[in-house]
């Protein structure tokens, strides 16, 4: 069975959930081989994690050579790895950075590229992907017809399923050219953790918009009562109420949680683009004509500043 390369999503060796989703998908297509760009002394711990989701192999690429530079070195390393292992497909978690890695890799390998898949299934002639396009108004089935299919996959595209993998650790020595080390990361400032779930991975997302008037307390309190991540519309971000990392929509994050609650958000097409595929949608908005109500499973016409705190109180009371 051919290998399917899965690029691991991690922060300092802490493997993130989309990795397990991708390993689950990879098993449909071949034998998962996880690729770890990181510090070799974290490899053993990472191997333990990924073998529990069926990784037969863990390629360790020492990131000493790649980490100070943007995108290009990773694409080079993956090219060399792909040339060695002739994988049936290469899967990457769909982050902006990985999409760029995938784009460069497609040109290097002479392969077709599919970005932002929300599902990948085995087809007769290779993987068949599903994408959600035009602000979630259409789904598209596609496949790669040339070279090694390179596919970036959105978070929440599969339920992670555990499986025993051999998890054999193999060091891969990539040769990084000087030409790939030209866009230098001069400084990095890690974002402070909010203690809440990651926006793109959360099962529940509670968002606030211009209607919060800059007071996000009701939104955050409600989110915490549900164990949810907090999101924001661009209007809230542009007003400086929330950092850009919280923005949901076309130019922010795309989320596809079990439950999305939009508070004081009108429902502009660019916002919809980031949340329309959520399973259940709820809105609180004081304008009964707000377009967001066209999308909802349940809506409350009312002031979020009174509805949310009252709801939070009731939920907390129920939980006892």
């Amino acid at each position: 069975m051919s290998e399917v390369l899965v690029v691991i999503d991690h922060v300092a060796g802490e493997v993130k959930k989309p990795t397990y989703e991708l390993l689950t998908i990879a098993r449909r297509l071949g034998e998962p081989a996880a690729v770890f760009f990181g510090s070799p002394d974290q490899a053993a711990a990472v191997a333990e994690k990924v073998k529990a989701y069926g990784a037969a192999k863990l390629y360790v690429v020492d990131d000493a050579q790649t980490k100070g530079f943007l995108v290009a070195p990773k694409a080079e390393a993956l090219q060399q790895l792909a040339e060695k292992s002739s994988p049936a497909a290469i899967l990457l978690p769909s982050t902006f950075e990985n999409k760029e890695v995938a784009g460069r890799l497609a040109i290097k390998l002479g392969s077709g590229l599919i970005t932002d898949a929300v599902d990948v299934q085995a087809g007769e002639s290779g993987p068949v992907t599903t994408q959600s396009v035009f602000a979630g108004n259409f789904t598209v089935q596609a496949k790669v017809t040339h070279g090694t299919p390179i596919i970036t996959v959105k978070p929440n595209s599969a339920a992670p399923e555990e499986a025993d993998g051999a998890g054999t650790v193999e060091t891969f020595d990539a040769t990084i050219s000087d030409a790939a080390r030209t866009a230098q990361i001069v400084a990095t400032q890690p974002r402070q953790s909010t203690g809440r779930p990651e926006l793109t991975e959360a099962a529940i997302v509670v968002s606030g918009g211009r209607g919060t008037g800059g007071n996000f307390e009701p939104v955050e309190g409600f989110a915490d009562s549900l164990g949810a991540a907090v999101g924001a519309s661009r209007a809230a971000v542009d007003s400086g109420w929330m950092p850009h990392a919280f923005q949901v929509g076309q130019t922010g994050k795309t989320v596809s949680p079990q439950l999305y609650v939009a508070n004081g958000i009108s429902g502009a097409i660019q916002h919809r683009a980031g949340m329309q595929t959520s399973k259940t949608i709820v809105a609180v908005n004081k304008d009964p004509e707000a377009p967001i109500f066209e999308l909802v499973d349940f809506g409350v016409v009312g002031d979020l500043h009174t509805v949310l705190p009252a709801a939070t109180e009731q939920i907390t009371a129920r939980k006892g």
Partner: protein, 267 residues
């Protein structure tokens, strides 16, 4: 100095976007416009020049697309770009990212050829239709230039460029030496509107049309039939069934909301 801004003509996001029978994006039946995200690229090109007083900087807006795509270039000219280039060739229709990036790269080389190469290629963060955010990286790969992407703040001095960018878990400062490929986000600052003067002036600005032959690209390398990724089917999302809407009166809204969430097992 020579700047090329890549601008895409896209179907209006607020119109009913759809697909043709061959599953390519309908670029004719739906009203189109300069991608809003590429307006930010044009704006940053203009600001880059404005901040470098006294330097001679020429800005070219480049688009690859069907007949009507020239509108994207026209709007860029109205905003203040000096010249326009439209790559127009029936063979390009239905091209994937790989082929589109090839055509763009060849066009950038041709535009730069007369002045020793493009010093700065600026793209938007994504096209509003394909939304791949991959073309800038692909251009950097093809042109062999440093890739400085997703900038929200851009600073330059001499041949040094520094940008700020939001990555998944951090904010980063990236540095590189010109020539580079740069992409900018919608956080980089609102784009200007064309002034009346700008609109009048645009009519006299040079606007060239290149065919694939002009670029030395073989028609067999591009287009739908050779796309390395192919759409097999498209499905319109069924309209969401109308949900239940309640009006909050004397606190009834919160109770109804909590009941709904409990009924769906979210509590």
């Amino acid at each position: 100095m020579n700047i090329v801004v890549c601008v895409k003509y896209v179907p209006d996001a607020t119109a009913d976007r759809k697909f043709e029978d061959d599953f390519t994006v309908d670029r004719v039946g739906v009203d189109g416009l300069l991608s809003e995200l590429d307006e930010y690229a044009v704006e940053q090109a203009l600001q880059f020049r404005e901040k470098r007083e006294g330097e001679e900087i020429e800005i070219t807006a480049l688009t690859v697309g069907p007949e009507k795509a020239v509108d994207a270039v026209r709007k860029s000219l109205q905003m203040g770009v000096d010249k326009g280039v439209h790559v127009l060739d029936d063979a390009i229709a239905g091209s994937d990212y790989v082929a589109t990036s090839l055509v763009l790269a060849k066009a950038i080389e041709k535009i730069g050829a007369e002045s020793g190469g493009a010093d700065l290629v600026i793209c938007g963060m994504a096209s509003t239709d394909a939304a791949g955010s991959v073309i800038p990286a692909m251009l950097a790969e093809r042109l062999g230039l440093p890739q400085v992407t997703l900038a929200s703040v851009i600073e330059s001095q001499g041949d040094q460029v520094r940008i700020k960018r939001d990555n998944e878990g951090s904010t980063e400062v990236i540095g590189a030496t010109l020539p580079i490929v740069l992409s900018v986000t919608d956080q980089s600052g609102e784009a200007r509107y064309p002034s009346f003067k700008g609109i009048m002036a645009a009519k006299k600005k040079p606007l060239e049309t290149f065919s694939l032959a002009d670029l030395g690209v073989d028609a067999g390398e591009v287009g739908l039939s050779v796309a390395w990724s192919q759409v097999e089917d498209t499905t319109e999302r069924p309209p969401r069934t109308a949900g239940e809407i309640v009006t909050d009166e004397d606190g009834s809204g919160a109770g109804a909301l909590v009941e709904f969430l409990a009924s769906k097992k979210f509590i």
